[in-house]
Amino acid sequence: MKPGQIVLGITAVLGLGALAFSFLTNSSPYVSIAEAKAKTGARVHVVGVLVENSISHNVASQELLFELVDEAGDQVKVVYSGAKPNSMEESDKIVAIGMVQGEVFEAEDLIVKCPSKYESTYEDEQPAQ
């Protein structure tokens, strides 16, 4: 092997390593609502279910507001600057990406999981006997 090839190989390995390191260290963890509240100001992913009838708007501050409850039963008010995503009311769950600031979770992005109805079976949809 020529010295140039060795140098290129080492550079490639170091480059890919740096890329992997950057992805791992700059990724955002999935946490519970309680953990998100304890990590005020840290960017996190919170997974929860939309609290019924909790969606409201504040047109003046251009915000969509809603409550999210996680598996542990903890609840947080989410503030999102943007239009309401499709199918939000009947989503299985919502992933809010952002950080807790004060009493609210300020979401930069929302991932609304499409409704399970469209992947359910015929039997699931039949009324209970």
Binding site: G15, L19, S27, H57, G82, A83, N86, I111, E119
Partner: protein, 776 residues
């Protein structure tokens, strides 16, 4: 309902479903036969002769199964679980067709069909490779068909032999879009081609002829790149036109599952050029042909197994457990096969000819090599980023996800050298040339790129025909440096401009000599245009939020926006809302989509898609919300509590309430007494109320001014506090308005890239003619 009233499924409907399932098993058998014939092909010429017929017959079986499913969809055979879940009687013809691949089972059927088609086509006229292609293609297709046998679209609902539901459940309303009709067939065709590339690489290794397969695979590799490119573009266009976040690409795991194979297929195309021109790269090309399929399988497993359930906007049901095990098995076998192939290729090549490196660092080979490594790096980055949740979970840590910004920041470091390689490589030769000669060749395109960068900078500063960039907008780089957003965007774009001008220059030089040899340069130009469009449309993007109603138009970027009502009515699937835009006396209408789905005992579901006015310099992109009245968040006031509305310059004081009728009974009415206080004016007393009507609390608002009313939603009987909100008198629609410069370059670029790919694919079928370009 009387059981006698439930319709019986027609006998022919049941027969077609049974036949469909039988065709799947038939195809599975034929693919196994093809593999076995390939295995014994060296011992029996007779066996070798029957490999292709066996595979084509298997393809026929899968095609017949697909046709059977299409028939069931077109004739509303809801006794089948899959048809019931993805079709409805009132769907237009195109949506009945797209329903076929809108779910898991149907998309696996389409993938198998396309894979079989490409494997069969790629086996034509491949001589000594045929036997091994038959073996590997047969095994892979048998695996896919086995998944299909367990994840069958021909499963009946319970009691489906004797009853047929009146109506299907239908697919997600979000999928009722024309892109759903055309995007999946194209992207699955590309995925099918990946199967063929893998079989080609395996046949090269198994035949121990690491050069023979390269010539045959070249046009197919180019076609695969073109198909994947179109498929990715269609997915981006679909997201842009329907999702309303104003972008095309979000590094979603599902997007990455297509992007990673595309990067590797591009690397393969360049690796093939190196092998053909300078020998060498034999082992690397085997890896580059096998990896796209392996990584696609990996991506499929990650997205379909539920592992990335919380990281993707896409919703795929988890696979049937047996089908998932077969997919896992296929992934494992493919991984093992790839490793064995690479090791075997290395052993075969140990005594083979070495690569010719006489051209040195400024030769075309060095730049192609760099380009290949950079594309591999890009694919590694996307695949690694997608795998972060899995890596974290396997290491016992809490799962993490990589956000779009991190992807953009990391991939940027690969983007710059890729653009530079794309700009410089076409001007280099396979033979050694001096650095001075290189400089002479690239000086003119570089000067042109610098000039165009200056033009873009001026345009972003003053924005003639569009908008000047926001001079205050900042961007934080990976290093933590905060830079001017517009300036940084222009700087980043300059690299793509260099790639663009350089390849255009090359085409102008080449045209007198070889008109058909411009495919590669055209593809580069297309990619450069796409990058310019992607970078400028996001980097110079501006957004404003406004609300529009008949009474109070909104304003954004100098446009007055008035809501003029629906085009049909809000229950119609094709309903759009008319937003009249006026600027400098010129009036236009933009029509975002909005309709509601009404279902008993369930919340009203709204389906929205943005309205776009496309232009040569910018797109005006309107992502609307739903029709609203609520302007401010609900407030709770105790007795004597005061709330200020600083926007409109008044405050209210809640004094208390009185009740008419009997507490909790129909007709009971709670009337609040509220003082409206404006600066310098006498307080005005208002009486908003809420009454129990039909068992529900119905507010009776009072008007504050011509556009605003005060609503009392409810009262707390315990402490007498009341819940108020300020609503608009006239319904309004919230609008997120995006100004997106140069978006059309994205689509133009993809078109040119695809054209270039097809020209190169067709042209490179004739190797002798290609030497004119290769030897340049």
């Amino acid at each position: 309902m009387n059981p006698a009233d439930i319709p019986q499924p027609p006998g022919w409907g049941l027969l077609i479903g049974t036949l469909g399932q039988a065709f799947i098993w038939w195809a599975l058998g034929m693919f196994v036969v093809s593999a076995l014939l390939g295995l014994i092909g060296d011992k029996s010429p007779q066996a070798k002769r029957w490999i292709q017929p066996a595979l084509w017959t298997g393809l026929g079986g899968i095609g017949a199964a697909f046709a059977s499913l299409a028939t069931l969809f077109l004739t509303n055979q809801f006794q089948y679980e899959y048809v019931w879940g993805h079709a409805k009687t009132d769907y237009e013809f195109v949506y009945k067709i797209s329903g076929i691949w809108s779910g898991q089972e149907g998309s696996i059927l389409l993938w198998t069909l396309m894979s079989a088609l490409f494997c069969a086509l790629m086996m034509r006229r491949t001589g000594g490779l045929l036997r091994w292609q038959g073996l590997v293609s047969g095994l892979l297709l048998a695996g896919m068909t086995a998944i299909l046998a367990f994840e069958s679209p021909f499963t009946l609902i319970e009691g489906g032999k004797t009853m047929m539901p009146f109506e299907g459940s239908g697919m997600s309303p979000v999928l009722l879009n024309y892109w759903m009709v055309i995007h999946p067939p194209v992207i699955f065709a590309a995925f099918g081609a990946l199967t063929g590339l893998f079989a080609f690489a395996a046949s090269g290794v198994l035949s121990q002829d690491l050069d023979g397969w390269i010539k045959a695979v070249r046009p197919w590799a180019l076609l695969t790149v073109a198909l994947l490119g179109i498929g990715l573009c269609m997915g981006g266009l679909w997201a842009y036109e329907t999702l309303g976040w104003g972008g095309f690409w979000a590094w979603d795991p599902v997007e990455n599952s297509s992007f990673v194979p595309w990067c590797l297929a591009v690397a393969l195309v360049h690796g093939i050029f190196i092998q053909q021109a300078k020998r060498g790269w034999r082992v690397a090309n085997v890896a580059l042909a096998a990896l796209p399929f392996l990584l696609f399988m990996y991506g499929t497993f990650m997205t379909r197994s539920g592992l990335l359930d919380d990281s993707s906007v896409h919703s795929f049901a988890q696979m049937d457990s047996t089908a998932l095990k077969i997919l896992q098995g296929m992934l494992g076998v493919t991984l093992l096969g790839t490793v064995v192939m690479i090791v075997r290729a290395w052993l075969v090549n140990r005594d083979g000819s070495k690569t010719d490196d006489t051209a040195g660092a400024w030769g075309r080979k060095a730049f192609y090599t760099a380009g290949v490594w950079l594309m591999v790096g890009l694919s590694f980055g996307a695949a690694f980023g997608m795998s972060v949740p899995l890596i974290q979970a396997l290491s016992g840590e809490k799962p993490k996800a990589v956000v779009e910004t991190t992807y953009n920041q990391n991939m940027f470091w690969l983007y710059i050298p890729i653009m530079l390689a794309m700009a410089i490589a076409p001007h280099l030769s396979w033979k050694k040339i001096s650095l001075k000669e290189v400089w002479i060749r690239i000086a003119n395109p570089l000067a042109t790129a610098i000039f165009l960068t200056g033009c873009l900078l001026i345009w972003s500063k003053w924005g003639p025909g569009g908008l000047a960039a926001d001079p205050e907008a900042k961007l934080t780089l990976m290093t933590g440096w905060v830079v001017n957003r517009a300036g940084w965007t222009v700087f980043v774009t300059s690299f793509a401009l260099f790639a663009l001008t350089s390849n255009l220059w090359k085409i102008v030089e080449m045209l007198p000599r070889s008109k058909r040899g411009i495919g590669g340069e055209l593809a580069h130009i297309g990619l450069a245009f796409t990058m310019i469009g992607l970078i400028c449309s996001r980097g110079l993007e501006q957004t404003v939020f406004t609300t529009a109603s008949l009474a109070e138009p909104g304003t954004a970027f100098g446009y007055t926006m008035t809501y003029k009502g629906p085009t049909e009515d809000f229950a119609q699937r094709n309903n759009e809302v008319l937003i009249e835009t006026t600027k400098r006396g010129k009036t236009d209408v933009i029509t975002p989509g909005l309709y509601y789905i009404f279902r008993p005992d369930q919340p009203l579901q709204s389906i929205k898609w943005p309205g776009i006015r496309r232009g040569p310099l910018f797109d005006l992109y309107l992502a609307t919300g739903e029709i609203e009245k609520q302007l401010y968040e609900e407030i709770r006031l105790p007795k004597d509590g005061v709330a200020n509305n600083t926007d409109r310059g008044f405050s209210i004081r809640y004094i208390g309430y009185t009740m008419e009728g009997n507490m909790g009974s129909e007709g009971a009415k709670f009337i609040a007494e509220v003082e409206l206080i404006r600066d310098g004016e006498e307080p005005e007393t208002l009486f908003p109320a809420v009454a129990i009507t039909d068992g529900r609390l119905i507010p009776e608002p009072v008007q504050i001014d011509e556009n605003l009313e005060l609503v009392m939603n409810k009262l707390s009987v315990d402490d007498g506090s009341a819940f108020f909100q300020f609503d608009a008198v006239h319904p309004f629609i919230p609008i997120q308005v995006f100004y997106k410069p140069l978006v059309w370059l994205v689509w133009l670029g993809i078109g040119i890239m695809t054209l270039g790919g097809f020209i190169a694919s067709r042209f490179r079928r004739n190797p002798s003619a290609s030497e004119a370009q290769d030897g340049a």
